[in-house]
Symmetry: C2
């Protein structure tokens, strides 16, 4: 794709073929004959049950055959609800290596601070791992995941569902093609109101969530998606954060504002709150145009491009982001390729998150 | 206006009357019989000639009768072009008090670092002052303006054209009415590409512009409009900035990202660049909804409100922001009331801007 080229007559075919290929799985290399990856789902909270398992059910390359929970009863109940599931295990049984013949890969979706032992167990069982983000609760434990995966011979991916969201992939292509010129600055936000969600609030418990809640759980979307769209990594951060509501008394970031300097002095300026109206967006302004992804991170995405005085809104059909993510991971396994979101990739985010919390405490810009 | 009230049948009259009064001059108290304010325009750059003078020509209460320039020839040329102008003066003649009978008030639109002497002269001549923003190049010189105006008995206003932009006034009313709940965070940006504007680049000369260019000239819009819409003032700032292009070698902020903490721990996170695609927006997210003003600051404004699962886009008719500003100032003079944008109000911005530059140099959060 070329911009600022000499004038050519309009070719309607070009916009039609663009639209037709908009949601195309450009990452796909395997085909349906190459088999199915059977998953053990570790952690049976609402995200696994209501988002991941239905996505897997609709997927091309994935199947849920094992469910793993801290509660034997919960595992048995979920097993009963789904015909494809062969075994329900407790965490201890999973770690001990039971039923390893019944699954090919592991999806880890426990609270952040419990990812490491399950990743280590999966490596021991020689099973590929799809691990939710942030990859762990602290940098030290994230390094533990990287070390465990390096010691083993299996494939691991941190579950960044925006890497396979078509809107984000199209935005990345446009930036790479120079559509907005040189990137100058980025705005991003992910906010939501978790107090209305009921009892399951491990995200407000630092022992389970890590350094905090809004930046760890939501801010990571703005940071990681900027890294992906711009092909640039963080070099420095600063932040302010505050908790006022009683429910947030154990975490520092009921609301947070933070800035990340990326390579080439591109600045990303972000907000995140677990106690606000649900919103999300990512906006990239360059020397020659801008891109707006809004909504961005809550399961639906839409793209706007402004360039050469024109605005293009693309309301593409919405994919199931978890289905895309699971099939991407399976496709990588089936074709023997590493995913984009390696543990090393995830560790860059975790170090950035830790620095954001440190900056807020010290009132200083933190270099990475 | 009330939100979250019990269900009532829809009254179409309410939306119709809202739309009809959308651009209404709710600030207006005088009427056309109460006379005209004759202005001396000090500084005849493109903003005065192409924006302020045409606005005054179309205004209800204002007339340009005197023009003042560093160049006698330029003053004479501009005088010749406009029938209403009676006198063209040099800066020295204006300061010396020539032709004070020919004008009632003064508009100061020179480079930032030259506002103070003209404000002092206007006070000496007992003429009300409309002074462009930022009010001066440094906090010390801004304090000089406050002191001069306090010593005199005249009215002074810093020229914040967003204070009379209907979209901004409606946004302020909605926030005050609780439409978005408690404000949580704000995003703002004003960026443009001044390198394409030709020779008149005093904004890149610290001796004329002050601490820098992008934050001083553009960032002030995001900060001041947030103050106005939220009725909250800054309490702390942090920032990162960088200049890479040769044309920006004398100023630190070809691009800047900065965060302002306001009262009640509402965070505003902002960007500004004089070397980027022209964009501007202000986004306020609260506990119950959000407001988006986009475009915001480049002469056109549009409002979007998202609340209760509904989105309302209002593309109101565009006013001439400078005409609104001049008539507002004249209305205040004709009715003997102080404007919202007093010099003390402007000094809060200038102290915030200075702290933003200091934060970038020291890498520290600066309390105000």
């Amino acid at each position: 794709m070329m911009w600022h080229v000499e004038y050519r007559p309009v070719e309607p075919d070009s916009i039609l073929s663009y639209v037709e290929s908009y949601s195309h799985r450009d990452w796909l290399e395997s085909n349906e004959d190459e088999g199915v990856v059977r998953f053990a789902m570790v952690g049976l909270g609402w995200w696994t049950r209501d988002e991941a398992m239905p996505a897997v059910e609709h997927s091309t390359f994935c199947r849920t055959t094992v469910v793993v929970s801290g509660s034997a009863e919960k595992a048995a109940n979920v097993e009963d609800e789904h015909g494809s599931i062969q075994v329900g295990l407790t965490y201890d049984e999973f770690v001990a290596g039971e039923a390893t013949d019944a699954y090919d890969a592991v999806y880890v979706c426990t609270p952040n601070a419990r990812h490491l032992p399950f990743v280590e167990a999966a490596v021991e069982h020689d099973k590929p791992i799809l691990c939710e983000k942030p990859m762990e609760a602290t940098v030290e434990r994230g390094e533990g995941i990287v070390d465990a995966c390096e010691d083993g011979s299996t494939t691991a991916m941190i579950a960044y569902r925006m890497h396979t969201e078509p809107v984000v992939r199209r935005a990345r292509e446009l930036v790479r093609a120079g559509a907005v010129g040189d990137p100058v600055h980025v705005h991003g936000d992910m906010s939501q109101g978790i107090l209305g969600w009921g009892a399951d609030q491990w995200r407000l418990d630092p022992a389970l969530a890590g350094y905090g809640t809004s930046v760890m759980d939501l801010g990571i979307y703005s940071i990681n998606t900027t890294r992906f769209v711009l092909d640039r990594d963080p070099v420095a951060v600063q932040s302010m954060m505050n908790s006022d509501h009683d429910a947030f008394s154990a975490v520092p970031d009921e609301v947070a504002a933070f800035t990340v300097a990326y390579e080439d002095d591109v600045y990303g300026t972000y907000t995140a709150s677990q106690n606000a109206h649900q919103t999300s967006h990512l906006r990239v302004v360059g020397t020659d145009g801008m891109l707006l992804i809004e909504p961005a991170f809550h399961g639906e995405s839409s793209l706007e491009l402004r360039v050469s005085g024109e605005t293009v809104d693309i309301d593409g059909k919405q994919v199931d982001q978890m289905e895309e993510e699971f099939d991407y991971f399976a496709d990588r396994l089936l074709t023997g390729r590493d995913p984009h979101g390696t543990p090393e990739h995830g560790l860059v985010d975790l170090r950035t998150l830790a620095a954001i919390y440190e900056s807020s405490e010290t009132g200083r810009t933190i270099e990475l």
